[in-house]
């Protein structure tokens, strides 16, 4: 184990997988000089046949990922900010997510798409979207939201070795966050949630960037005598329903915290799964703490205002624990 920054973990995963398999290629805008830092050093080590800058043309880049994967490569496409996923959305939603089904399973598309998501840095509306709900609804792509450096490294390696299109979403501006990363070779499997903190009174499902405020809230709740269990799904497609249901089965209370806009969010979906499959265990309403249905404002105070906070999480958790049906 060693403490590493998130971005360093991502960088290591790329390095190791490119070393391991010459079929791994990386392309995207400004990947050579690594605007986010995650692709740093790859050009020097692997050359322009393995990593290369592209023109700004997301529609084509996403389509090319499909073609290059069909031609036998393991493609890593860097799309920088999540909002640019929309610019390439035709090839993602109509081709990448559907081609395998449409060919009756003739094709495998080992494609990993990296993009930063979310707000909190005054990047304003066009650089702050949290697009996992849209991607989850597409049906043909995996969606990863690793919150720790260790998970980032392990999930990215798993994605690159995988067989299906996979979105690897990094919380924007959190590249500097650090955490313990296992030494040596490892991967993290898809569809296995992590219990980031154990507790018996209330389940907090914290998605991606929301792990931090959720853990902070759990700490505050602990001080108030409430033991929150914090679940980090780590991957949204596939989703570890069992882990969530097991926790709610124990606590009888569920809060889902999601940086996505509320409507049709991952929080909505997980809440729906809980209301369906853990109904008998529920002792209180299922709560979502999300971003309201607005585009992200620019001003930091306005941004903060729409963001889930640890206080808000702690408050809702406390209400749930106190909830009594009449």
């Amino acid at each position: 184990m060693a403490r590493k920054r998130y971005i360093q973990a991502v960088n290591e995963a790329l390095f190791e997988e490119m070393e391991r398999d010459p079929k791994v290629i990386v392309f995207g805008e400004d990947v050579e000089l690594a605007i986010f830092g995650d692709t740093r050093g790859l050009l020097e080590r692997f050359g322009r046949n393995r990593i290369r800058n592209t023109p700004i043309c997301e529609a084509t880049l996403a389509g090319m990922a499909v073609g290059a994967a069909a031609a036998g490569f393991r493609v890593v496409l860097h799309m920088m900010f999540s909002n640019f996923i929309y610019t390439g959305f035709d090839a993602i939603a109509n081709q990448m997510a559907k081609l395998r089904l449409m060919t009756g399973g003739q094709i495998e598309l080992p494609i990993t798409i990296l993009a930063g998501y979310g707000g909190g840095r005054a990047n304003a509306a066009q650089h702050s979207d949290t697009p996992h709900p849209l991607l989850m609804n597409l049906g043909g792509v995996n969606v990863l939201v690793p919150a720790t450096p260790a998970d980032a490294k392990g999930l990215l390696k798993e994605a690159i070795r995988g067989h299906n299109p996979t979105f690897f979403l990094e919380a924007s501006g959190r590249g500097g966050d650090s955490g313990e990363v296992p030494d040596g070779e490892y991967t993290v499997p898809f569809g296995k949630a992590a219990v980031a903190r154990a507790g018996r009174d209330v389940t907090i499902v914290a998605i991606g960037s929301m792990l931090k405020p959720a853990l902070a809230a759990a700490e505050k709740l602990h001080a108030a005598g409430i033991q929150a269990e914090v679940i980090d799904p780590r991957t949204l497609v596939p989703l570890d329903e069992q882990a969530i249901l097991a926790s709610v089965g124990k606590t009888g209370r569920a809060i889902i915290v999601d940086e996505a806009r509320d409507r049709c969010s991952a929080a909505s979906h997980i809440a729906a799964v809980v209301a369906d499959k853990a109904f008998a265990a529920l002792r209180a309403p299922v709560k979502r703490i999300t971003v309201p249905n607005v585009a992200m404002p620019y001003a930091p105070n306005a941004e903060m205002h729409v963001f889930p906070s640890d206080d808000q999480i702690a408050r809702v958790a406390t209400e749930l624990v106190r909830f009594r049906t009449q």
Partner: protein, 331 residues
């Protein structure tokens, strides 16, 4: 032997056979569509056969193609199995995509056919990606993107021209200019000459008579040679005409509306690529009436057999979608 610009008699005869196969398959589909036997919409390739046949004759089995919603000709041109295609269009489990794709998505990866495509312009970038893969792999493969004049108005076309030129990719853009985008005459939605858009990138361009298979074949030969030699992208515009409606059952959609004159269709029928090739073969003495009739006799049972196979096959496995959506994972 023929040189690159003049197909040999043998080659012409092979082209004739391929074109005839496409034509007869399409005619059969036309009849089956009219009879209400086909589940989805079909967009027929009648009148454009010389393009798929001429281009694909220059390709190897392992080369890549991407196609359009009007994709049966490309599938057959590239060596796709008629039975498997027919069964696919019928929505049967014996179909090339096991009934999951249908007419607009016929694909055979083992033959380099990356699929027909229901999104106008959708195949362009996929072909560019395959060409990029071929370049990186150094495997000598070439990719061909077939697309319509309508698709040439999608911006992805320009993006693909740019990337392909920059990276000298082994790709050929084949624009089938059949004068229409659905019910809209192309001239009313297309400014300037499409070929000029490729010329802006200094991509070698050939604008050919798409109803003359020898012309298409020669242009494709040049382009393929260039691509394999590391010379980068080429653009071929094959001028042709859509004889059928945009889709079968067009009349229902139009409800009496009109976007072209019957006379115009008739004019173009006179330039039928199959008829022209037939006449050329006969008048040049390259083939006798008997030889051509023999081709008919070879093609007819394939078509008949394909249709019968399709009709008699079991419906698709209704559980399959859930099984194949992901590789090695449930959806």
């Amino acid at each position: 032997m023929a040189n690159q610009h003049n197909p040999s008699n043998e080659q012409l005869l092979a082209l004739y056979e391929r074109m005839l196969l496409i034509r007869r398959m399409e005619e059969r589909l036309r009849a089956d569509a009219a009879a209400g036997k086909l589940p989805g919409a079909v967009h027929l390739y009648i009148g454009q056969e010389a393009i798929a046949a001429g281009v694909c004759a220059q390709l190897r089995g392992s080369d890549w193609i991407t196609s359009t919603h009007r994709g049966h000709g490309h599938f057959l041109g590239k060596g796709g199995d008629p039975k498997a295609m027919m069964a696919e269009i019928w929505g049967k489990r014996t179909g090339i995509c096991k009934g999951m794709g249908g007419s607009m998505h016929v694909a055979d990866l083992s033959k380099g056919i990356l699929g027909a495509n229901g999104i106008v312009g959708g195949g362009l970038a996929i072909a560019v990606g395959a060409a990029f893969g071929a370049m990186l792999a150094g495997d000598g493969k070439v990719a061909v993107a077939f697309f319509g004049d309508g698709a040439a108005n999608q911006g992805v076309f320009m993006e693909c021209l740019n990337v392909s030129t920059l990276w000298k990719l082994p790709i050929i853009f084949v624009c089938e200019h059949n004068q229409f985008c659905e019910f809209t005459p192309s001239a009313t939605v297309t400014a300037g000459q499409i070929a000029d858009r490729a010329r802006a990138f200094k991509i070698p361009c050939a604008v050919v008579d798409g109803n003359d298979v020898a012309e298409v074949w020669a242009a494709a030969g040049d382009a393929v040679e260039r691509a394999r030699a590391g010379g980068g992208a080429s653009y071929i515009e094959a001028q042709t005409y859509r004889i059928q409606g945009h889709l079968e059952a067009e009349a229902l959609f139009l409800a009496g509306g009109k976007y072209r004159e019957e006379r115009e269709i008739d004019e173009w029928r006179k330039r039928d690529p199959l008829e022209r090739l037939r006449e050329r073969l006969l008048s040049s003495g390259a083939a006798s009436e008997e030889a051509l009739n023999a081709v008919d006799l070879r093609v007819a049972p394939i078509v008949e057999g394909s249709a019968r196979f399709a009709e008699e096959s079991e419906p698709a496995d209704p559980e399959l979608a859930l099984q194949v959506m992901f590789s090695g994972q449930r959806p």
